[in-house]
Amino acid sequence: MIPLFIKEIRSFLSSLIAIIVIVVFLLAIGLFMWIFPDSNTLDYGYSNMDILFNMAPWIFIFLISAITMRSFSEEKRMGTFESLVTKPISDLQIVFAKYLAGLVLVLFSLIPTLIYYYTIYQLGAPKGNIDTGATWGSYIGLLLLGSCYVSIGLFSSSITENQIVAFILSMFLCFFCFSAFEQISKLSIFSPIDYLLEWAGINYHYQSISRGVLDTRDVVYFLSFTTLFLGFTFKMSRKGK
């Protein structure tokens, strides 16, 4: 499993996908956080990183879909999936190695933003006036959210041999799971179950963790969500065999 994980990481790096994803992510977040007059932290005046944590889930919808779209569809289209499956590695290990590689890429795109944390920490008046607990909670939330997106992306890639279809489907599913549940719950016909619907969406749990309280219920939600989609991926990757 480890050789496959390393191979996936190396193929991200050699195809420049990793670099592009990290650079685009940092560029987009950097623009929102420091440059754009409507949203930059300097004019805003509060020493927190809300801009990062509010924008990142939306940017991740694009970027994570882009990094996972090839994972299964390309292998199936090229036939390399057959040669991989007939090597002594189980289907579950294949899914998990690809998932880990995606998650590590998400982690690496988040690490450079620690500089923003340091900057705001220094700029605070008085110095260090930033809600550290909430910030770390948000980072953990963002990573867990990334994990959900990666599993959705892998699932989308496993059901089609066409990368573009995988990309679009993944974006839609990420968007739907992140935000649509919450929006739908506001419809009056769903008012009897509005809480349940809101609870089913990722955003509810993401906001909850962002407050800096690591509630086990939220963690369990994220982990089950990821497991569920990885399970679907596992099923779909071997469909018809």
């Binding site: 480890i2 050789p3 496959l4 390393i6 191979k7 190396r10 193929s11 050699s14 195809s15 090229m78 036939g79 390399t80 999936f81 057959e82 040669s83 499956v85 007939t86 090597k87 002594p88 590695i89 189980s90 065999k241």
Partner: protein, 303 residues
């Protein structure tokens, strides 16, 4: 027994791709798996390599059942899938090291260096796979199949799409490796089987139609004898028919004739006497062996 297949069946919807086939291959044999496109060759191989689950029946490799011990089966098999799928954006060495890692080889770099030497990939080892010619890609495909010294090699059309020189090189490699291993290779090129295989299994529409040693099969179907003769002067076909034993006469070019007789008759002497009697001269005379190609066509035409 290296490979044992018992009542193996694979059904896709309504279509029986492989229909209750049985065969076994002893260790050390090189077996050609022959059949027209869509006969079920690849499907059988995919079941042996644990890529497909059989609908029913058992496929065993080195005594391990593919549906019970897939990991053991995979460890004992080297498999080259049809069309030789490779990661085109990886370097040759990088790819082989990755495969060595998946097989959990302890001495990865020496195993890779060894196989690169054996498959003649040394001049290309630092290139990207995508930049290689088809012949060299095929060598990479074989290298990844043979890297972990498997007891059984399963090669799905290992020479398709190569030029004659490349085909020769790949055949030499396979024969070399097949010396102390079991090899099962599928092909629809008859000469390949004649050149490399001890035994041939012919499959058509999911069923085995012949399974025998290559030369036995050739003998078994040698029902009639064909003689090619070239005379110096013109000959009349009616006259040729008067030679005792000749059933059929066909013209095969200027003064060239194809004579066929029942098995067991030696026409050569009679034809010689005929030529002498009619004052003609024989320029060339040779007996034609019925090739596997014809046997294959005969067996798979409308079975």
């Amino acid at each position: 027994m290296s490979i044992e297949v018992f009542e193996l069946t694979k059904i896709y919807g309504e279509q029986k791709a492989v229909d209750t086939i049985n065969f076994s291959i002893k260790s050390g044999e090189i077996v050609g798996f022959l059949g027209p496109n869509g006969a079920g060759k690849s499907t059988t191989m995919k079941m042996l390599t644990c890529f497909l689950q059989p609908t029913s029946g058992i496929a065993k490799v080195c005594g391990y059942d593919s549906s019970i011990d897939p990991m053991e089966v995979k460890n004992n098999i080297g498999y080259l899938p049809e069309h030789n799928p490779l990661y085109l954006d990886m370097y040759v060495k990088e790819y082989l090291l990755f495969v060595a890692g998946i097989y959990g080889l302890k001495t990865k770099s020496s195993a890779v260096a060894d196989i690169i030497g054996k498959t003649g990939l040394s001049p290309e080892q630092n290139k990207k796979i995508g930049a290689l010619s088809k012949g060299y890609r095929q060598r990479v495909g074989l290298a990844q199949a043979m890297l972990h010294n498997p007891k059984v090699l399963i090669l799905d059309e290992p020479t398709s799409g190569l030029d004659p020189n490349q085909i020769n090189d790949i055949r030499k490699l396979i024969t070399e490796f097949g010396k102390d291993r079991t090899v099962m290779l599928s092909t629809h090129i008859m000469q390949e089987v004649e050149a490399m295989c001890d035994r041939v299994i012919i499959i058509n529409k999911g069923k085995i139609v012949a399974d025998d040693a290559t030369d036995t099969l050739q003998k078994r179907f040698k029902s009639s004898l064909i003689l090619n003769v070239e005379f110096k002067n013109a000959v009349n076909s009616e006259d040729l028919k008067t030679i005792s034993g000749v059933d059929m006469v066909t013209e095969n070019g200027k003064n060239r004739w194809k004579l066929s007789a029942a098995k067991g008759t030696d026409l050569r002497e009679l034809v010689f006497k005929f030529a002498v009697n009619s004052g003609n001269v024989i320029l060339e005379q040779n007996e034609e062996e019925q090739r596997l190609e014809e046997i294959f066509q005969h067996l798979t035409k409308n079975g």
